[in-house]
């Protein structure tokens, strides 16, 4: 249980590409199965990046939005942290490239974190405590993924779930800010639940430069390249509905709050069955649980800020919000946040490449 004081969220922005992929057009499912899929997951469509656009581009668009909105002098930004699992290249860290592309000063400390669905609460914990302990007055927390690049298009257990998106959250040291309560969890024994098996040095298959890349048929009968993402939905589902509600309850208790004190619940957007179950088990009514599943699907690390940005009308007054991310790792985390009025900006649509 952790409490982070003196950190204020000044602006939240999110960016998505223009191209829409609709569940009803997905050829690898029968028309009946498309209906069933849509009903169970809640996902009608997602956004897919053009071939030359990466997570860094979507995050840069969102970062430009918050910097311009706040009128911040770029020289005043002392930290930039990017959380992604689809970085532009293995090395160097994409956050360092973004320092240059965004015109941030060389005095800006940058690094990447490798987290997915649990990124938002973790990211706030890391950048908040980093800024606090080093006295960095302004920082940017960027999160985004182009999951469409790592899923095989014919993989009906993964491809129709994921959408591409980037986000930016601008933070500032502020002694008067309300504390952020956090709960940060990990369980690496569940690492196979969502995994891209190849590409790292400990890959279970040789990296592509040691032979041709060949597809293998998994136990689910789906053929994948070793650098494709594998998602074991049943395991994620079981994990999420059993481990996530206690995490949310711990944060509510640590802040000495009640469920009814919270204006909104913003969960990682996994699928409708998971999210409805978590909301129900934690006592949040459906209308308090914000969702972007229908229009954007599972947007990985960007899902929580994107979901706030898709609902700007909910954030025109000060709000107390419970956020919770859960998934790949396994990793899960919750954070209670105060979002000041008009801090959340509408979604930017862009195919820009920086």
């Amino acid at each position: 249980m952790s409490r982070l004081s003196g950190i204020a969220i000044r602006a939240v922005a999110a960016a998505v590409p223009h191209e829409v992929a609709r569940t009803q057009d997905y050829d690898y499912l029968t028309p009946e199965d498309r209906q069933r899929f849509q009903k169970a997951t809640g996902i009608s469509q997602r956004r897919i990046s053009p071939q030359n656009q990466y997570a860094s581009d979507l995050c840069a668009a969102a970062a430009e939005r918050v910097i311009n909105h706040l009128g911040w002098d770029r020289a005043s930004i002392g930290a930039l942290i990017l959380i992604t699992q689809t970085s532009d290249q293995p090395i160097p860290a994409t956050s360092i490239v973004l320092q240059d592309k965004l015109g941030l000063p060389q005095t800006c400390a940058t690094f990447d974190l490798n987290l997915g669905c649990s990124a938002y609460p973790y990211g706030l914990a890391v950048i908040g405590s980093f800024m606090q302990s080093l006295g960095i007055s302004r920082g940017l927390l960027l999160m985004g993924d182009v999951s469409s690049r790592v899923c095989a298009k014919h993989d009906k257990s993964a491809w129709p779930l994921f959408g591409d998106a980037g986000s930016a959250t601008a933070l500032e040291l502020d002694e008067s800010a309300n504390p952020i309560y956090l709960d940060l969890m990990s369980d690496g024994s569940g690492r196979d639940a969502i995994i891209v098996p190849s590409g790292g040095l400990a890959s279970r298959v040789p990296p592509p430069n040691e032979g041709p890349v060949s597809s293998e048929v998994g136990s689910d009968g789906i053929s994948r390249r070793p650098d494709n993402l594998i998602l074991r939905g049943a395991d994620i589902f079981s994990f999420a509905i059993s481990k996530v509600p206690p995490s949310i309850k711990r944060v509510i208790e640590s802040g000495a709050r009640a469920v009814d004190d919270f204006d909104f619940l913003v969960l990682h957007q996994a699928n409708k069955m998971i999210n409805d179950t978590i909301a129900k088990k934690t006592g949040f009514s459906q209308d308090k649980s914000l969702s972007t599943l229908a229009d954007y699907g599972n947007t990985s690390s960007a899902s929580i800020p994107l979901t706030m940005c898709a609902n700007t009308d909910c954030f025109q007054v000060d709000r107390l919000v419970m956020t919770c991310g859960f998934g790949v790792g396994l990793s899960w985390a919750s954070a209670s946040l105060t979002i000041a009025a008009n801090t959340v900006l509408p979604i930017v649509e862009t195919d820009n490449v920086y």
């Binding site: 199965d33 169970a40 257990s157 939905g233 049943a234 589902f237 079981s238 509905i241």
Partner: protein, 78 residues
């Protein structure tokens, strides 16, 4: 908690009539079975029995009776 109740809840979860199922039903061989039914059954075990079953429990059992044994074993532990 009885297997009769489990079969009843199982039928409700996968949207079939309870009379069409028994402890010996090889559930993954049902015409309507797909991966979304797996999620429905996991949700049912959680909501109605307070038990977390995983993908492995579904993969490694054949009949509804065998799956009930997994649920029952976990009930004993909790």
């Amino acid at each position: 908690m009885s297997i009769e109740r489990f079969i009843d809840r199982f039928a409700y979860a996968i949207e079939v009539e309870p009379e069409t199922l028994s402890a010996d039903t090889e559930y993954k061989e049902l015409d309507i079975w797909d991966s979304l039914n797996t999620l429905s059954v996991i949700a049912m075990a959680d909501a109605d029995f307070g038990v977390a079953i995983g993908g492995q429990d579904v993969e490694s059992t054949r009949t509804i009776g065998e799956l009930w044994q997994r649920v029952e074993a976990k009930l004993g532990k909790s």
